[in-house]
């Protein structure tokens, strides 16, 4: 399986990439790590007329702490984050979450920006972006704009990016001291059938600033405001997933298409919440 013929251009920088995208009028795709795009092209499920390669640009490679938040250049590779000594309060769990992304060889090529722009509901970066209200910095021919994750992700593998725009940076305005992600997969490295992320700070032993999101189940990762409220303020030692099962069921049923929500899937999803909730307080970040 070889890709269909395509034109190829190397972008000098992000600005040049937007010019090239505009020139190609929606017929070009950006190439970053290629770990989602190239398999699809090999299968000929996608046949872009042209590829615009960001691989040799100098920009978008940074991992920066700023004002209590984290800024990641779009071209940062998963493995860089995995092996980076992140000693930033509120983000110390991040390297451990990277280990859930595919397998090591994929992590040495795949990028944060690529994962977010690809917008797979099972992707760990998309789950984190929705969980922590990330902000996406987008460059187009007319300049920069910043979009909240909730508006950026619009549908199945569909984002707010126009055909002449490129994702430059991913910002997490606020971390959490405690976070856990649990994925239900049949084999390590598979796309998650269901995943759940639970994050919070602890204030005098009580859960604070709770955020909870599910991935894999629906067209996009989604938050659970009712569930978050139910956990907020509870003593960490007393929170029990079992007591929250009705709310979990309600939240999932509200969001996941009823024809897709089998009893099996609901059971699996509830279990990922159970694991993530316990993991969050027990410090078991990724499972």
């Amino acid at each position: 399986m070889k890709p269909a013929p395509f034109e190829y251009v190397r972008a000098r920088d992000f600005a040049h990439a937007t010019e090239l995208l505009a020139d190609h009028r929606g017929e070009a795709k950006v190439l970053a790590g290629g770990q989602s795009l190239l398999p699809i092209m090999n299968l000929r499920l996608a046949r872009p007329r042209a590829l615009i390669d960001l691989g040799k640009i100098q920009e978008g490679r940074h991992i920066l702490a700023e004002g209590g938040g984290l800024r990641l250049g779009a071209l940062v590779r998963h493995a860089q984050v995995e092996h980076y000594p992140i000693d930033i309060a509120g983000f110390r769990w991040l390297p451990a979450v990277m280990g859930l992304i595919g397998h090591e060889p994929i992590r040495w090529r795949g990028t944060v920006g690529g994962s977010i722009a690809h917008a797979d509901a099972a992707a760990e970066w998309c789950l984190l972006a929705v969980l922590l209200d990330a902000r996406l910095v987008v460059l187009g021919p007319h300049g920069l704009r910043t979009v909240a994750a909730a508006e950026f992700f619009q549908g199945v593998m569909t984002t707010d990016l126009a055909s002449d725009e490129v994702l430059m940076e991913i910002q997490f305005p606020q971390g959490r001291s405690h976070l856990a992600v649990n994925e239900m997969v049949r084999r390590a490295g598979d796309f998650a059938i269901a995943s759940c992320a639970v994050a919070c700070n602890l204030l005098s032993g009580r859960a604070a600033d709770v955020c909870i999101a599910f991935g894999g189940l629906s067209t996009l990762p989604f938050r659970c405001p009712e569930l978050e409220q139910a956990v907020e303020g509870q003593p960490a030692s007393e929170v029990r997933a079992g007591a929250l099962i009705e709310i979990v069921t309600r939240e999932i049923s509200r969001t996941v298409d009823s024809s897709a929500l089998t009893e099996y899937l609901l059971g699996v999803a509830s279990d990922t919440f159970h694991q993530a909730l316990n993991g969050c307080f027990a410090g078991q970040v990724a499972s």
Partner: protein, 164 residues
């Protein structure tokens, strides 16, 4: 597909493969795997799924394991590539290869170059069967049932500091 067609888009690349320089024009849609096999005659890198799932095509790119079937050859421009052919010293098996031989870590051998290069370049630490399994789960084997591959990996990581 004929890569000799005049309408194939080609660009100039230069890279190091197992210590030898290559410079020339390469068709943009050729995978690194097909480039190594077809252009350079290095058939040790195997093409299994071409979707980035099986890992038989694993090579090192600037010292890191990558799937060469989902890497374009032109993405390796200015990079250093290492393949299974680069492991042995002449006719002498490397310590890694010797571990696979001693532990019977292969049967048909199709997946083996991928496992060897994965282990040669992995940044993860393999200290026991569980951690070996986690790292090795990147690649598929249809023959062995994996136990002897885990044995080989452990034999390699436990002994390599003494050997190298």
């Amino acid at each position: 597909m004929s890569l000799n067609d005049s309408n194939e888009c080609r660009i100039a690349v230069q890279l190091q493969v197992n210590g030898t320089s290559f410079a020339g024009e390469v068709a943009v849609r050729v995978s690194l795997a097909d480039f190594l096999r077809g252009e350079l005659g290095l058939k040790g890198t195997h093409v299994g799924c071409e979707q980035g799932v099986c890992g038989a095509c694993t090579v090192l790119l600037d010292g890191r394991p990558v799937r060469s079937c989902i890497t374009l050859a032109i993405q390796a421009d200015d990079c250093n590539v290492e393949t299974v052919e680069g492991l042995a010293e002449g006719h002498e098996l490397s310590y890694l290869q010797a571990a696979f031989k001693a532990q019977h870590g292969l049967q048909c051998g199709f997946c083996t170059p991928g496992f060897l290069m994965l282990l040669a370049g992995t940044a993860s630490s393999i200290s026991d069967r569980q951690s070996a399994r986690e790292t090795l789960s990147a690649n598929l084997c249809r023959c062995t049932g994996y136990r002897s591959i885990v044995d080989s990996a452990l034999s390699y990581t436990r002994g390599k500091e003494d050997a190298e």
